[in-house]
Amino acid sequence: MKSSPESTKSDLVKNAVETTMTTAAGSSRREFLAQSGRVVAAAGVASLLGNLGGWALSYAADKEPIKIGILHSLSGTMAISEVSLKDVVLMAVEEINAKGGVMGRKIKPVVVDPASNWDLFAEKAKQLLVVDKVAVVFGCWTSVSRKSVLPVFEKNNGLLFYPVQYEGEECSHNVFYTGAAVNQQAIPAVEYLMSKEGGGYKKFYLLGTDYVYPRTTNKILRAMLLAKKVPAADIMEEYTPFHHQDYQTIVGKVKKFAAGGKAAVISTINGDSNVPFYKEFANQGLRAEDAPIMAFSVAEDELRGMDTTALVGHLAAWNYYQSVDTPQNKKFVADFKAYCKKNNLPDGEKRVTDDPMEAAYFGVHIWKQAVEKAGSTEVDKVRKAVYGSKFLAPGGEIKMDEANHHTNKPVLIGEILKDGQFKIVSRSKGLVKPEPWSEYTSPDKGCDWIGHQGTYQKKA
């Protein structure tokens, strides 16, 4: 496409010159002069036309859509959670395009499917950055998938918006973390349980699935509890394999641990193990009043596929719930349901929104704002523009950190209701500043891309 007007232009000039040559031999001088005058004019017109074409072309290139990548598993075990993130990012793109796009250019999403396979995550990320040359990528859910794409983004200087709460201890120049760091979810949740309002719990049973997120989170929580003078005997830590189904022994241990009251369970159990755990908990006669379960991986989107009878009254900590009462959230929820219905997505209007979806959604808008502020889609310029930018997200205004690539967000504690929604029982005052390196386990480390080069050693 691009070369054709160029070639027509040179052909025209060549033809003109050739005609001059052939006719010049057998005609008079006057004729030759007149003819050559015509030829020059023609050549001039032609070159002018050519220039015009080139200009028009470059104008069109400016108006060409901006490509963005979406890197979420659409098949395999993680599909259940990640498909919703893809849907909400596409919805945000549609919204932006309907309002004229970014700097007058439309956004064109490139959706790939890494199929819940972390090697494939790295491969697809490379494809997006090198072959499709996307300006930004929205994607990943599990920490292991993020760790696997990290080198790809750093080597090719790509930009990733990561929307899920995670264990921290990471500070990449090429990632913006729109989900919560540990101090924006796990730590406030435990502080709430310890407070008078939360019930003044004194003993904690840390229970998780055996992989990096629960292990790191529990390491930080243990350090924090010890720092708050909770005796080590009052902290239990236990892990189960993925897909664990038999929670008899563990619930028995919890029951023994919780005897006498003032004990809470902190659950980082992931995925399909949650249902057998909560069911066993209720069936063995334990109530939320005896020992509440505070979960970090149970949100509305997971609850809609569960029988919630056994979960009612237990707690969760997030930065957003579908039940947040703001006008922009009402619009967000209604828009999403309408979007699902319009595009005939499975379950249509019954779909719900949750914390990672909100984080994915405002990530797209933060990027758009940054591109418009920077006047370019170049990663280095966009990154600078993201620092300190604000956006009125569905859950309330959020602010990207000035230096550490994470997000300042509110922290909300919710109680699970029968319909799979949450009743908000506690809300942080204002926004909580993110700490990628926890003050409890790594007090000497910080994350700063303005004053330092990423992770740095704090001076004692």
């Binding site: 236990e238 189960t240 005897a259 006669g285």
Partner: protein, 515 residues
């Protein structure tokens, strides 16, 4: 000494007196403090001054009049956070008092337990009144425990000793932390004789409770072992027939369980949509035969289209059925999505309390019974019927049976369908424990193969013994090694065992056609 005991006596009398007064308080409502006092206290609740507020809360909780609840709710709705915080324990207390006379057993029991752990001695007379006409054994237990717990927290040593003895008799696990604290106080150097008496009572109680707890723990471990074994057994029975008797390695066996689970889900949805809500509780009884039939039909189709061409070629069968399993998983994901949950019928949720501190969940008892029923059914079918005779003949010597006029192809198909149907029943039972999702079968297939191979291929008895052994051992190891390492240990043990005895626990002896 005399003076001290005198003071003690006076104190006891005083406490007793106030208790009686408190007990009588609500009954003689109009005579007690005039209404204006209550109104004054209600107004004080919203006071800025912390001490005024606390005094008001104390006053109102001592009054314990449930009719205040409505007024309190009105106050709470318009109050700010600190007032709401102060109101919450008061309102909980009043609510629990009302719930003590609720018709629902669980509510009465929860209320009694909550009053005990709230630590307000004002609740003792309410509990005593409730105890008088409480018919249910475990609610009585909860009330007695709560009364003793509240008395244990009093300052009177005699009360504390009686309470400690009572708690020891009740074998109350909930009292251990408080008793340990008393023990601690008694062993201090500065402890008085009374403190020491309390401490020795506490020590005796703790011992009593601990002995009981170890018995209860042993009983629970045995039950958990049996429960896990029954789940392993019900999963492996179908495989024992298909793999054990027919020698077909069916990698899609787990997906036949998934089909059974989804059949249960569909039955439930049909009950919700077409039958009155009263019938809902019985859907599970219907769903069992339905899931058997649906899985059996799937098995028949699978046998006719894939496996029948591959008899005697185990590797090809394995690959082909694995492909089928992937197709089934993705088909379920596309068709059902992720909005599937099976609600256990009310008669299968909750549990029965067998003894102090030991709960036996109904769903687990049900699965134990179901697996026993399935084993009996299979034995009857294989050893007491003509069809069973043919199946055994074909699996022992195919050629000879064929010579004798047994239609071996038909027998193959029926046997495979029967094994698949059993997988369907297993899937139906598993909905009581966990989730219904496309990957359901994948979680269980490895365990099922492990049970069948360890037990010895071709022997049903081996499957039963192996599931009991593996399940029991798993639950025995789990308390000390944790869930992850006990599973690792079990796998190591199975590997070592199979190296010593490659043909498993039970081997087919004598001249066998295949070997």
């Amino acid at each position: 000494m005399l003076l001290r005991s005198l003071i003690g006596l006076v104190l006891v009398c005083f406490c007793w007196g106030t208790e009686i007064a408190a007990a009588e308080g609500p009954r003689v409502k109009p005579a007690a403090p005039p209404v204006s006092l209550i109104d004054q206290a209600l107004a004080d609740l919203s006071s800025e001054d912390q001490s005024t507020q606390e005094a008001a809360v104390l006053f109102l909780s001592e009054r314990g009049d449930p009719s205040l609840l409505l007024k309190l709710e009105a106050i709470r709705d318009s109050a700010d956070r600190s007032v709401r915080l102060a109101l919450k324990p008061l309102m909980d207390q009043l609510k629990n008092r009302i719930n003590l006379s609720s018709p629902d057993v669980d509510q009465r029991r929860s209320a009694a337990a909550d009053l005990g752990s709230a630590g307000k001695p004002g609740a003792i007379p309410w509990l005593e009144a409730a105890l008088e006409n409480e018919p249910h054994r475990w609610v009585r237990y909860a009330i007695e425990e709560s009364i003793a717990l509240l008395q244990l927290a009093s300052t009177n040593p005699d009360d504390q000793i009686t309470a400690a003895t009572k708690l020891g008799e009740l074998r109350s696990q909930n009292a251990v932390p408080a008793l340990k604290e008393l023990l601690q106080q008694g062993s201090d150097g500065s402890a008085t004789a009374q403190h020491q008496a309390v401490a020795s009572a506490a020590r005796a109680a703790i011992e009593q409770i601990d002995i009981w707890a170890s018995w209860a723990g042993a009983f629970e471990t045995i039950f958990r072992g049996i429960s896990l074994s029954s789940i392993l057994l019900i999963m492996s029975l179908g495989l024992a027939i298909v793999f054990g008797l027919m020698g077909v390695i069916n990698m899609a066996h787990g997906e036949l369980m998934m089909v059974g689970a989804y059949a249960t889900f569909v039955t439930q949805e049909c009950f919700k949509a077409y039958l009155p809500p009263g019938a809902f509780d019985y859907y599970f009884l219907v769903s069992m035969p339905v899931s058997f039939l649906v899985a059996a039909v799937f098995g028949l189709i699978l046998e006719a289209t894939v496996i029948s061409f591959l008899y005697g070629r185990p590797l090809e069968t394995m690959l082909a059925t694995w492909g089928v399993s992937l197709v089934l998983i993705q088909a379920a994901r596309v068709y059902f999505g992720d909005l599937t949950s099976v609600v256990a019928p009310s008669w299968l949720s909750g549990g029965v309390q067998a003894m102090v501190g030991v709960y036996l969940p109904y769903n687990r008892i049900f699965i134990i019974l179901l697996s026993i029923l399935c084993v009996c059914g299979i034995y009857f079918l294989l050893f007491r019927t003509g069809i069973g005779l043919r199946v055994r003949a074909v699996t022992q010597n195919r050629d000879m049976s064929s010579c004798l006029g047994i239609p071996t192809r038909k027998v193959d198909a029926y046997t495979f369908a029967f094994g698949s149907g059993l997988a369907g029943v297993a899937g139906c039972a598993l909905t009581l424990i966990g989730n219904v999702e496309p990957g359901l079968g994948q979680n269980y297939i490895v365990d099922s193969f492990m049970v069948v191979v360890t037990g010895g291929v071709g022997k049903l008895m081996g499957t039963i013994v192996a599931s009991l052994g593996i399940g029991g051992l798993n639950k025995l190891l789990e308390p000390s090694f944790g869930a992850v390492y006990s599973k690792v240990l079990i796998l190591v043990l199975v590997v070592v065992f199979l190296q010593r005895r490659p043909s498993g626990l039970f081997t087919i002896k004598g001249r066998h056609a295949d070997t």
